[in-house]
């Protein structure tokens, strides 16, 4: 009759925080077998600080790295689109993801080949550290997010035709990237309407994340021609377009108990079995959009 309900849970959580030696003091029922402990996802920072009411303040783990202001602006916009003023997820969104992570590259070697005749080539070596992605966060979609800084007044527009190829660095050969994964497609978009371009790289990233790779090192070649394919493509560069190294956006479905799964079950009106099936089939478009945006990237 002395079941503790949530108390047990608190103890289990405290167990996660306790120094190594303390585990042996706990009741064997609470001690997880070694392997299982890996299955416990680290608590998201918000829940960590909520559960960690003790004197040790969260300040000791305040983020040391400040995010890129562009990235922050993008995520604030995403937040406004996804949640009400009170912070409640918007009902009509109809998307499957309940977590979106934006990573800025932490390694960059820019090779600009200015002497190329055709347009502007932007080659970067990018390293993304995805350690924060937990085992229970399943990838639905991944996007390379380019932001365009142009001196073009917003009233006019410039059309781009861009090609992107991605090569993954094979950690074994440090000198040059192996071509274990490569993706190439072209984009046609107008800068006036958007300052961000999302390039769908899900098919490239999915196998890497599925094998628990957390350090993604890729060489990205981004070649852009300006002008309209129908009319004529201007080869010179009338405006100064600077390409900022892209960020990586991951749309994830967090299956942990703390994450919100409401819309999935509401949307499908049946209990979790269907939801589980839905959750495991990334083919369902996580964004629920009807093909707006860069359909080409999507098709690619």
């Amino acid at each position: 009759p002395h079941s503790r309900g949530h108390g047990g849970l608190d103890k289990a959580l405290a167990f996660l925080e306790a120094p190594e030696g303390a585990a042996s003091e706990l009741n064997p029922v609470l001690r997880l077998p070694q392997g299982d402990r890996q299955g416990f996802a680290p608590l998201p920072p918000l829940l960590k600080v909520l559960s960690d009411q003790g004197p040790r303040s969260w300040d000791s783990e305040v983020p040391r790295l400040q995010p890129d202001s562009r990235a922050l602006r993008y995520m604030k916009r995403l937040y406004k689109m996804s949640a009400t003023k009170e912070g409640i997820p918007k009902a009509h969104k109809g998307h499957l993801y309940n977590t979106v992570r934006l990573f800025t590259p932490c390694l960059e070697c820019r090779h600009l080949h200015r002497d190329l005749v055709k347009g502007d080539v932007h080659s970067v070596d990018l390293l993304f550290n995805l350690d924060r992605v937990t085992a229970l966060e399943h990838l639905l979609k991944s996007v390379l997010l380019y932001s365009f800084d142009t001196s073009v007044p917003t009233s006019s527009s410039i059309t781009f035709i861009c090609h992107l190829s991605i090569k993954e660095h094979d950690s074994a050969s440090q000198v040059c990237p192996s071509i274990s994964h490569s993706l190439a497609f072209s984009l046609h978009f107008e800068v006036r309407k958007r300052k961000w371009v999302e390039i769908d790289v899900t098919s490239f990233l999915q196998p890497l994340i599925a094998t628990n790779r957390r350090n993604i090192h890729m060489a990205v070649n981004f070649t852009c021609l300006m002008g309209d394919p129908q009319r004529s493509t201007k080869l010179e560069n009338p405006v100064n377009v600077t390409l900022v190294p892209p960020s990586l956006l991951l749309y994830l479905n967090d299956t942990s108990e703390q994450a919100y799964h409401g819309w999935n079950s509401l949307r499908h009106g049946t209990k979790s079995l269907v939801r589980d099936r839905q959750r495991n089939s990334p083919l369902v478009d996580p964004l629920g959009d009807t093909g707006k945006g860069n359909s080409q990237g999507k098709r690619a």
Binding site: I88, P89, N98, V100
Partner: protein, 135 residues
Amino acid sequence: SRQRRNENLKAAPATSPYNLSEYFKQFVFPQNECELHNFRLSFSQLKWDKWIIAPHRYSPQYCQGDCPRAMGHRYGSPVHTMVQNLIYEKLDPSVPKPSCVPAEYSPLSVLTIEPDGSIVYKEYEDMIATKCTCR
């Protein structure tokens, strides 16, 4: 109900005006009964606004108040609640009376900066109490 009230009136002995007020008192909504109370905080009060970008304000709400003896359908309380109340009144007062607790929640979307500088948007379950019950 009107017919029943008329019968009651018929059956009731001749009442003075004071008894009438006593009589109507049973229909007044109890003052301090279990209900949802507003509570709003801002993450800057907790000094968390360095890493919680949105929302700025959070209204978790809370439940407080007395649990009436006859719970039944008004609170959607399970039958066990009435049994616990019976135990408290008739068998063992050391067993606590049913408590006024949240019965339903709504989620909350939070935008935070991770320690490594990445940014995460996440929807958390059960972060805002929307309804109370006794159990």
